[in-house]
């Protein structure tokens, strides 16, 4: 009996032009062409997309959530990166 699963692919959809591709789900397919066709058939049956990206799941590199505190730490105390950090005279407009 066959043991191998077809590889797993992640599917990203651009729902209309002007928007980013967003992760829509995943599927198994033997190759990239099949992955694209299957993604079209399952994830855009009702015109949910105008563009599809597929990528084999094993090629996605992700950060480790158990270390996300230290990973994202550099941004957490930099309030001076936000406009509200800076004091503006009250009577000033359009800034």
């Amino acid at each position: 009996m066959e043991k191998k699963n077809w590889p797993l692919w992640e599917v990203f959809l651009r729902s209309r032009s002007g928007l980013h591709h967003v992760h829509a789900g995943s599927l198994h397919a033997a190759d990239s062409e099949m992955a694209l066709n299957n993604a079209r058939d399952v994830y855009t049956r009702r015109n949910e997309g105008v563009s599809i990206w597929v990528i084999e799941s094993k090629n996605i590199i992700a950060n480790d959530p158990s270390e996300s505190e230290s990973f994202f730490e550099p941004a957490s105390d930099k309030i001076y990166r936000h406009p509200t950090f800076y004091e503006m005279p009250n009577e000033l407009k359009h800034i």
Partner: protein
């Protein structure tokens, strides 16, 4: 409680979703794999009683509607298998569990579809009951499951409507057609109520699933909600729900209804329903007959890859 467990609990308390790589208790993971895969199997096996009628649909309108619905159910199966796989189990293993009978699927699909009006009744009642459960699950604490449910719910509403539209035509048709519709309601009503599972007191997993926010409503509450919305729909059709105890209770603001035959429920769960054997055999056969296609596609892709690498 260690710090991982505390972080998990905090997320639940704050209504934050648990995502695939987050730490989670082993039992939470197991419960989700069991529930999500059971749900996925139900979508796939659920294609069989309806697919059975596609070639015999009485008009083009009915045929394309039913075909699109059954196609959607295949998609639902896929979304759910994918969600289960994020928990670290692979597709082949999930299929194995179904085919060997370890995993269950919804008992409703072990009842036969003996007339065309059953297809109307299934869309109306079975998809109707499923929707009630699935709307609740869009708020499940596990992110991939909740997101799959959002997609599924968007697609489901047409399923129920195409079923109800069939019931309207039959109920307003000839005397014979009306009888067919009534007969289908008679046979599908009680199994539909059973879809919500055993009553709260008997349900082994319910309390824990509610605490983990996988389920957000009890089986009995969902069942009551289903009865309350469905009774007026039956009245509109001029059909009679097969329950003499069914009665509006002014004080409760809900319909009272009769006792469910739980012996029948457990018999079907155990594998002794009218179609358990046939359904499983059909699935196993489809899987085995497809093996050479899966192998050939993989061999082709490997050949393409070697060709590219040797260039």
């Amino acid at each position: 409680m260690d710090k991982f467990e505390q972080a998990f609990q905090n997320k639940l308390d704050n209504e934050e979703k648990i995502e695939p790589k987050d730490w989670m208790p082993e039992k939470y993971r197991k419960t989700l794999i069991r529930q999500i895969s059971q749900h996925a199997h139900s979508e796939i096996v659920g294609m069989l009683p309806e697919g059975n009628w596609i070639t015999r649909a009485p008009s083009m309108r009915r045929k394309i509607g039913l075909l699109a619905k059954v196609q959607d159910e295949a998609g639902h199966g896929l979304y759910l298998y994918s969600a289960a796989e994020t928990l670290g189990i692979d597709r082949a293993e999930l299929f194995d569990q179904l085919h060997s009978g370890i995993a269950k699927y919804s008992s409703i699909f072990n009842y036969p579809t003996i007339s065309w009006s059953d297809i109307g009744a299934i869309g109306w009642l079975v998809d109707g009951a499923a929707i009630m459960n699935q709307v609740m699950l869009t708020r499940a604490s596990y992110g991939p499951y909740a997101r799959a449910m959002v997609r599924i719910c968007k697609e489901e509403s047409f399923h129920q409507r195409q079923g109800y539209e069939m019931m309207v035509s039959l109920a307003n048709g000839t005397e014979e057609q009306k009888e067919m519709a009534q007969d289908s309601l008679n046979r599908w009503w009680w199994p539909s109520l059973m879809m919500f599972g055993p009553s709260n007191a008997e349900s082994t997993h319910s309390a824990q699933s509610m605490a983990w926010k996988i389920k957000r409503k009890s089986n009995d509450d969902l069942r009551q909600q289903f009865v309350d919305v469905t009774v007026p729909q039956a009245e509109y059709l001029g059909l009679k729900i097969p329950d003499d105890k069914l009665k509006w209770n002014e004080e409760r603001g809900h319909y009272d209804f009769g006792e469910i035959n739980w012996d029948e429920f457990w018999e079907v769960v155990k594998g002794n329903g009218p179609c358990n054997k046939e359904r499983l055999e059909t699935r196993v056969k489809a899987h085995e007959n497809g093996a050479w296609v899966r192998e050939a596609a993989m061999a082709y892709s490997e050949k393409l890859n070697t060709a590219v690498n040797h260039k």
